[in-house]
Subunit: 113 residues, 2 copies
Amino acid sequence: MSARTRIPVAVLEDACTTPLLDAPLSDADAAEVAAAFAVLAHPVRLRLLSLVAAAGEICSCDLTTPLGKSQPTVSHHTKALVDAGLLVGEKRGRWVWWRVVPERLDTLRSVLG
Amino acid sequence: MSARTRIPVAVLEDACTTPLLDAPLSDADAAEVAAAFAVLAHPVRLRLLSLVAAAGEICSCDLTTPLGKSQPTVSHHTKALVDAGLLVGEKRGRWVWWRVVPERLDTLRSVLG
DNA sequence: CAAATATATCGACGGTTGTCAATATGTGTC
DNA sequence: GACACATATTGACAACCGTCGATATATTTG
């Protein structure tokens, strides 16, 4: 399995709450944490997150221009963020409204200390 | 430039201290933060960090076996962690003694909130 | 139903990364 | 100096990822 293979959110939920430096990581925990950070390790996804946070709620069609990426690429990244539990989308009519899941960032923050 | 291109430590030091969700990220800041997380987005590097932390101080020759990786691969990862400011190595005789830089993890944690 | 719009998926291409074998460099020991 | 050992570097290969064009699906509007 690669460093960046995505891992189901549920798996990460019940582990990885111990800070990185407090105990040696098992192979499995390391893979889960690495997968979570891999999703954050991309400038477009980081900017996407911050744009959603700034707007509170926003649809994909209003993300393509500020991100400077094509519609399929934006869709690709929203999916990655949703799979990582960092973003949720609610479909209303033709649009999907995206919101950040701040609790998820809190979980990852706790891994760093 | 790619998402995972490494960026000099100094560059990251004087930016990226504002939490991700508090303000929209510039392209430049997003690239810097993404590069930092990319270094953490690898299970071998995470385990390496936790092994060093557990030992307090440890040399590469005592990392290859627990990591299950070849000597060049371990060297490759220590270099990545050093470039990211997460690890420092002190050469004593034939050995390099590695230590974690916890302040660096604190900086990254602050980006998440 | 037809047209328009928003998003998702597919397929393909180029670039990056992780890995190791081989080799080089540096350091202590005999 | 010759050898042994620890680490770094080089080169090469396989695997993965980001990107976009093309296309599919879903939903509203006329």
